[in-house]
Each structure stands twice: as C-alpha cells, then as structure tokens.
C-alpha cells in the first residue's frame, strides 16, 4: 500500500537507548555481561507504591498486578548498590563526559543544574523498584536529507537487570547489566515518513558510535513513537535493527488506520515489535507521575569547567574520522575493519609511536588472527597477550631494531611466552637460519622459477615466515 504520510498527519519521533562503554553509573562495578554460573542469588518482592497525590501510576499499577518473587543473580562483579543495599555513589564522571560528548555532537544545550530522578519500574528489572535517570541536555538537532530533525532531550540513565527465566510465581534476573550507564536520545516528532525514520536512526547511531559506547547486539535499542491524525501515540519498543523500521512503521500505521475507522476508544500505550514486524500491546504509556527525585544524591551541577573539558575531549564524528584515515593512506577494507573491531583508539595511539598506518592496521587486524590460527589459540587470548606489547614493538621498529617484515615473528614469539628482549634475539637468529635454508633449497634444485622456490621455502617453513622477506632473499640468490 502506498501511504501519503503528509495526508495521514503522520507524526513520529525516536527514542534511542545506547549503552556506554564504562563502569556502572552509580557504583564502580564493571559493566560486564557474565555467562558463567552466578555466585549468589537473592530473593525480593516489590509492592505498588502510591505516587504523588496518593495515586498509583497507571503503568506501575499494570506491572504490580504481577504478584511475583524476583530472584536476582549476582557475581563478584556485583556490589551492594545493585542489590539495593547501599545508597548510590557519586555519578560516574566518565559516563557523564560521554553523555556530554553525545549531547554536544547532537548540537544540544547542556542543562547545567539538573537532578537525578527515580522512575518507578516495578516489573522487577530494577532491584530498587525504580530506574535512575537524569536529564543532561536539551534542544538539539541533526541535519537530514529531509531537513532538520530536533533533539528534544538527552538523558543519562541506568540499564535494567537482564531477564534469565520466568515462571508463574517467579522471575529471575541477572544483575550484571543493572546500573550500566545508558544514554537516551529523544527526537522531536519531526520525522516525515517511514524511510526517514530509518535515516534518522542511522544518522544518530553513527554519532553515538563516534563516542565511547558499547558495540554489538543488544547495546543499542530504538523505540519509535508513531501516530496518525485522530489516533493517540503508540510507543513501539525494542528495535535493534533499523532495517525493519520501514515495515514496522507502515504496519503500525495500518493498525492505527483500522482503529480510527472503527472508532475504537484508544489510550496512549507501549507496544512491542513482533517477529513479523507487527506490534503487540505491552502496557499503558507511563505518565510523569512516576518520576520523583533521587534523594540519596545531591543536585547535579555540571560546571562550565566540566563542559569545557568535554569539548576538549570531543571525539571526531565517524564520517570525519573515515576521511582522515583515507588521507593517511589506509585502505577502505582496513578502515572498515578498524571501525568494526572497535580498534580506532588503539590504532591512533600506535600511530603516535610510528607513522606507518598500513603496518599498524595490519598488525592490529590481521596478525593476531594469523598467529591465533597457527598456535591453535583463541583470538581473544592472543589479543590479550599482545595488547600491552604493540607499543614496545613499534618503538623498536622505529629504532630499526625490528624490521617491518618481522613484526609478526616477534609478536608470534611474544605469544609463545617470550619477553620482548628475547623475541628480538630470536628474530636475528631466525633470519640467519632462513637465509641458509633458502640457499640450500636453491642449490639442491637449481633452475626453477622464483615462484617455485617461494613455494618450496614456504612449505619448508610451514608458512611461519614473511613471504616478502623470503622473496627478497630468493631474488638475492637467483640471479
């Protein structure tokens, strides 16, 4: 069906939730999802609480009807704050700085005096019965192909606990995610059509990924607000993939059109995305009634000094960074991989040690995989061993104590457990060895092509040496 969005009175805005890559927002625990067996469990219950003026918030009431035991799984990376057994600590200043970066990149005005709020949530996903959230900035915008789209608010808030299992009487959550910092970006309802929803989401996503945020599945979540003329707004929750936006938005419009026609009385509500991209009712839209101040924390003052600091450390936008990397002479493939593997920071640090973009990218992106494969180790293990050694290795490359072509051999020796000093020595011995062997091979089978010798040599060394260097040696002997 071809939809005329303007005629329908289509209104849409996005709420984008992005996890930040730092410790938890109100304690010093790592924001680390655990797959191993939990160290302990606690059992809690929540009860409905009368909000301001004694009214139980309509959204909270809906959740309270679930009369359940909540089981929380904890680890050695969980503290009393996540257990709701200790007041929150001072706000994580790194998370605040990242939130300021995002706010500045979205052209927002920072809110210099603001208050951490408690948003009542009693589905058990927060041990406290509320989520802490604070407004950091407001009134920004982004440029899109269909004009400016306003950014209403930027909030910094706590992530919820993860659901592990649920039965009739109880629901089990894991505390590893609870309290992790998230930024919520709320756009104005300036979005023109379903295609535009996708563009705006991708654009904001790009800006978010320029900052110190988590990557991968589950680290970003989009909610879409959709309404057409004569129908209250519906919030569709829980998208991870902008590719499905088009279909979901259009199907929601069709649903709403159906309601308008039938004159069904409808209230604002929160809906969830189904697998087939239709939507289902989740709960009524929460009102402002369920927000009240976090009395355990002082009023948050974001001083000009802190804002200036954030401006100074403002990361480059991804698109700007890409063109800078291109200028440095890095191949498109490497640029793509550096972003994908989240190694831009590492790359830039090493570039300050030695100005060899291609070599550094190769070292970060290709060598660890090769070494892992050859040593039959996991990539994670190899990368963990190597990450502290890149600096030293490149320093020695700059001082010409390691040749460029032997960086991989040196790293390989380090993975074997050798110290950097020994790894260099090894390199020198090896080169002598290699030359001697190549010389022997050529002497034994004279008259072959360079390529053929190459094949023989590589076979002899089982691919453990640098081809470029082998070719140089072969050329030296084959006149």
């Amino acid at each position: 069906m071809q939809l005329d969005y303007e005629k329908l009175g289509f209104k849409s805005g996005l709420e984008i939730h992005q996890q930040l890559d730092t410790n938890k927002l109100f304690c010093n625990c790592p924001f680390l999802l655990r797959k191993d067996e939990p160290d302990f469990e606690i059992k809690r219950r929540l009860h409905a609480v009368a909000g301001e003026s004694g009214k139980v918030d309509i959204a909270a009431k809906h959740e309270a009807s679930l009369d359940k035991d909540f089981i929380y799984q904890g680890y050695d990376t969980t503290c009393l704050v996540e257990l709701d057994e200790e007041p929150p600590h001072e706000i994580n200043s790194e998370a605040l700085e990242i939130a300021l970066h995002i706010s500045l990149l979205l052209n927002c005005e920072i809110q210099p005096i603001t208050q951490v709020m408690r948003k009542t949530v009693i589905d058990g996903s927060n041990t406290s019965g509320f989520q802490r959230t604070v407004m950091i900035a407001r009134d920004g915008y982004i440029e899109t192909s269909k004009g400016k789209v306003g950014i209403w608010y930027i909030y910094l808030e706590e992530d919820a606990a993860r659901t592990i299992s649920e039965d009739e009487n109880s629901k089990t959550y894991r505390l590893d995610r609870l309290g992790g910092p998230m930024v919520e970006v709320v756009t104005a309802p300036d979005i023109k059509d379903a295609e535009h929803v996708k563009e705006v989401a991708l654009k904001i996503g790009d800006i978010l990924r320029s900052c110190k945020v988590k990557r991968g599945i589950g680290t970003i979540r989009q909610d879409i607000n959709v309404s057409i003329r004569g129908h209250p707004r519906a919030e569709i929750k829980g998208f991870q993939d902008p590719k499905v936006f088009l279909e979901v938005v259009n199907k929601e419009i069709e649903r709403q059109l159906g309601n308008v026609g039938k004159k069904i009385k409808t209230k604002p509500e929160v809906r969830g995305a189904n697998e087939d991209n239709t939507t289902k009712f989740l709960r009524p839209m929460p009102g402002a009634a369920r927000m009240y101040p976090e009395t355990d924390l002082p009023i948050l003052k974001i001083s000009q000094q802190v804002i200036n600091q954030a401006k100074k450390s403002l990361p480059m936008l991804r698109s700007d960074l890409q063109s800078e990397l291109r200028k440095e002479g890095l191949s498109e493939e490497y640029i793509r991989m550096l972003f994908k593997q989240n190694k831009i920071e590492e790359y830039k640090e090493l570039l300050e040690v030695i100005n060899k973009p291609q070599l550094i990218a190769k070292t970060l992106l290709v060598f660890p995989k090769d070494i892992a494969k050859r040593k039959n180790k996991s990539l994670a293990e190899v990368e963990k061993i190597l990450e502290d050694n890149y600096n030293g290795v490149f320093y020695l490359v700059k001082r010409r104590q390691i040749s460029e072509s032997h960086v991989k051999d040196v790293l390989s020796a380090i993975v074997d457990g050798k110290g950097l000093d020994d790894a260099i020595k090894l390199e020198k011995v090896d080169i002598g060895d290699v030359e001697e062997k190549i010389h022997k091979i050529i002497k034994e089978k004279p008259g072959l092509s360079e390529k053929a010798y190459m094949g023989l040599v590589m076979k002899e060394f089982k691919g453990q040496i640098d081809g470029k260097q082998v070719m140089e040696i072969i050329k030296k002997f084959v006149k």
């Binding site: 929540l46 301001e52 004694g54 909270a60 369920r290 101040p293 802190v306």
Partner: protein, 443 residues
C-alpha cells in the same frame, strides 16, 4: 575510576559572568504550576522546594517528569499559572472485629518519612490512613486501632527523656485490654538504644513490644518496611511478652527475626539486615504469614506493666585505644560523672603497668573518687574474662565491674538506669540478669 573534579558552582570557568537580573517578586509557592522567564527561554513546570543549601536556585519539575535547577540570577520572572490543588483523598479503613487490635507508635525515621514529590519536601506519615496508603498489607492481619505520636525525631536526636516519654505511652497502651501488642516505628541509627532503655524501663511486661524500622525509604517499591511491618504485626499479636526488635533476617524479602531488645546491635550502615543478635539467640523467625519460635521468652500474661524510669545521665561510654592517655578519666570526674562503661580489648584489657601510658593507677584513683567503672568488650562478640592474663587480673584488682557478654550500649543504658536508683547496690544490680542482658550460654 577517575572522577572529573569541578562539580562546583555553575557558570565559572572561562565564560564571562552573566548579567545579574533582579528577579521580580513572585506569588508562586512550591507546588504551583509556573512559567519561568529567562532572557532567551521560558520554562513551564511545577515549582519545587529547594534544599536549604541551594537557596540560590529554583527547582522546577518539567512536564516530562524531570527536575531541573535554574540559577536565580538568570531569572527575570516567575509567573504563576495555576495554584496547586490540595488533593486530600479520603481513605476509609474498615475495622474488622475478627482481627486483633494493635497500637502503633510513630517516632520518626525513614520508616515514617515520605518525600512529597509535588512540592519537593518531606511529609510524615502521621495517621492510620497514611499507614494504610503505604502499607495495606499490614492491615490484612490486624486492626491498627490506635496511632500515637509522642514525638517525631531522628534517632540520633533522641535522649533519655524521649525514651521515658515513649515508655509512658507504651505502658498506657499495654495496659489497655483492647490492645494485643504495640509496634513502634523508629529511625535505625540508634534504635537499639531505645530497645535497651525500654527493656529496663518497662517492668513486669505483659504483652509484646515490637520496635521496627526501614533502611530503604518507603516511597520505593523495594522498601524493606513492607515485610518488617507485616512481621512486626505478627510479633505484636504473638505470645512473646518481650521488648524485641523485628527486621529483615538477611538480604532476601523472605522472613524477619524477632531479636531481644538488650542483645541487638546495628552492625551494618545500609543493608536491610542491619540489626543482628549478639551473644544470644533470636526469639522467633517470622514470615509474612507464619511464625517459628526459636528460643525461650516470657509469655503473654494478664498482669499490669509497671514503669521504672529512674535514670542518671551522667554516665559515659569510653572506648580505649592503645597509647591513650588515662588522664581523659579526670575529665569525667571533674564533670561529676557517676559512671563510665569502658570498652576494652580482647578478654578485657587496657594498658597496664608495663605500658608507657598505664591505666592501672588512674583507674584505682577515679574509682576511689566514686566513679563507677564497668568493662565491656570492643570485640562486640564474646565474653570478657579478666582472669586469664596477668594484665586482666591487675585491672580487676582496681575494682572494675566486668560485664561479661553484655553489649557496650546495653551496659551504658543499664548503668544509667541502675545509678538512677540511689539506694541500689550498683555492683550487685549490674551483675543481675534483669532483662536478658547476660547470656548464660554462648554459641
């Protein structure tokens, strides 16, 4: 984690100071819906109360529910849009004649304090209606037939006069035939002192006297007050005629313990199960709907409760540390103190003759001047025994009264109570087990 410093005053740094406007006087009061006019922007929202320390700003609740602050010097005008409506929702609590009646005494603390988010200030829960609104489950088992508020105080602001006043209220309620038991809600910090005072003040106890608390504020759905109050109601209608403290047994919202008033201490600053029994046993394990008796206790009876409120407040608790100058004791003598409880190390030791700063001589001297000196254990857990080491024997000879496994706080209250009775033999009375303050068998 590195923390950025500089959460200081807003508007510092390199930005030139904003022009200071003289704000027009406003008719708006906290709770009103207002427009706040700045030079470039107008904000709408509900005006809130600001903390005493933040008088240079106003707080505003925006329509999205978030609170923000605005510096007064940037504000041109606060326009009143709509006065706050006093919403008084009347709740009717039906008394069920089939349910037992209990009385509640509200004294303050987290369990009775409620943030009013509409205005930003704190309200107290002061009536059965308020209690019902927040703790409807409490009323499932009992009728709260009386609510008394002798004072509203944080527990650190109380003194023995408050404890005496509280005891009088409790006595009156306990001697009312209609009431099965009393629940007292109280701040947590010094709750065990009140429990100890009531344990000595209330003689010939006939019914349960239950003290309870909350460590998490009651506005949150996770508040521990909910289970604590439900269990307290059960304790109040039980047969345990003792002063007891009822609260979470562990971090789970599973069950509470009923703990003897003289053998309990706050041992955690923030956890739900902050209170623990020391050197004794809990009376009972209480779930929201059942109760398991775990140790001996006095049984509910038809007698009348008597009061014995005599109290000498010139008594101090002194904690010894290595190297401490014993001359500190001269201060207490000079200030006419009648007794001190000295918290000692190990089995009951402070610096002796071999130390540079020996206490032996000074202890003898002050006791000769009439100061009563009692000894308790810094270790909290365990019993004193001055006979094991020569240092202990040397100190014992000075005349100190060693209080075995009695908690220091209990000892302070008991010594004050005993010294309030001029005709009592202090040593004899201090060593008599008046209200389960001594444990005969430590586990």
């Amino acid at each position: 984690m590195d923390r950025i410093s500089g959460f200081g005053p807003v508007g510092g740094g390199s930005i030139p100071p904003a022009p200071v406007f003289k704000m027009k006087k406003s008719k708006a009061v906290p709770g009103d819906y207002v427009e706040v006019h700045l030079t470039r922007l107008i904000y709408e929202g509900v005006l809130l109360e600001v903390p005493e320390s933040e008088k240079s700003m106003i707080l505003l609740k925006l329509d999205n529910g978030y609170n923000i602050g605005l510096s007064k010097k940037d504000i041109l005008e606060i326009k009143l849009i709509k006065r706050a409506k006093e919403e008084k929702s009347k709740i009717e609590i039906k008394k069920d004649p089939g349910k037992p009646n209990i009385a509640m005494i509200i004294t303050g603390g987290t369990i009775a304090a409620r943030l009013n988010p509409r205005k930003g200030g704190v309200d107290w829960l002061t009536s059965s209606e308020d209690l019902f609104k927040f703790y409807p489950e409490l009323f499932e088992k009992v009728n709260v037939s009386r609510v008394e508020i002798p004072f509203m105080k944080a527990s650190e602001d109380m003194d023995f006069k408050d404890w005496q006043k509280l005891a009088r209220v409790v006595q009156k309620l306990l001697n009312d035939q209609q009431i099965k038991g009393v629940v007292i809600t109280h701040g947590t910090d010094f709750l065990h002192y009140t429990a100890e005072a009531l344990s000595f003040f209330l003689r010939d106890l006939n019914k349960p006297v239950v003290l309870t608390y909350s460590q998490r504020s009651i506005d949150r759905a996770s508040s521990d007050a909910n289970l604590n109050l439900q269990c307290s109601a059960l304790a109040a209608i039980s047969n345990i005629a003792e002063v007891m403290l009822v609260g979470h047994a562990n971090s789970n919202d599973d069950f509470c313990y009923a703990m003897p008033g003289t053998k309990v201490r706050k041992l955690h600053s923030s956890r739900r199960d902050a209170f623990r029994v020391v050197n004794s046993k809990v009376f009972a394990k209480i779930f929201s709907s059942k109760m398991e008796i775990l140790s001996e206790h006095k049984i509910r009876n038809k007698g009348k409760v008597k009061l014995d409120l005599d109290f000498e407040d010139k008594v101090a608790l002194v904690k010894f540390y290595p190297g401490q100058d014993p001359d500190i004791l001269d201060y207490y003598v000079k200030k006419k103190y009648k007794g001190i409880v000295l918290e000692m190390g190990g089995l009951g030791h402070v610096a002796t003759k071999r130390a540079r700063n020996s206490w032996t001589k000074k202890l003898t001297e002050v006791q000769k001047k009439g100061l009563i000196v009692c000894a308790t254990a810094q270790t909290i857990n365990g019993r004193l025994d001055p006979l094991v080491y020569s240092n202990g024997r040397e100190l014992l000879e000075t005349g100190i009264i060693y209080l075995e496994d009695m908690l220091s706080e209990t000892a302070l209250i008991k010594l004050s109570w005993v010294l309030g009775h001029k005709d009592w033999n202090v040593k004899e009375k201090m060593l008599e087990n008046v209200s389960k303050e001594f444990g005969d068998r430590l586990g």
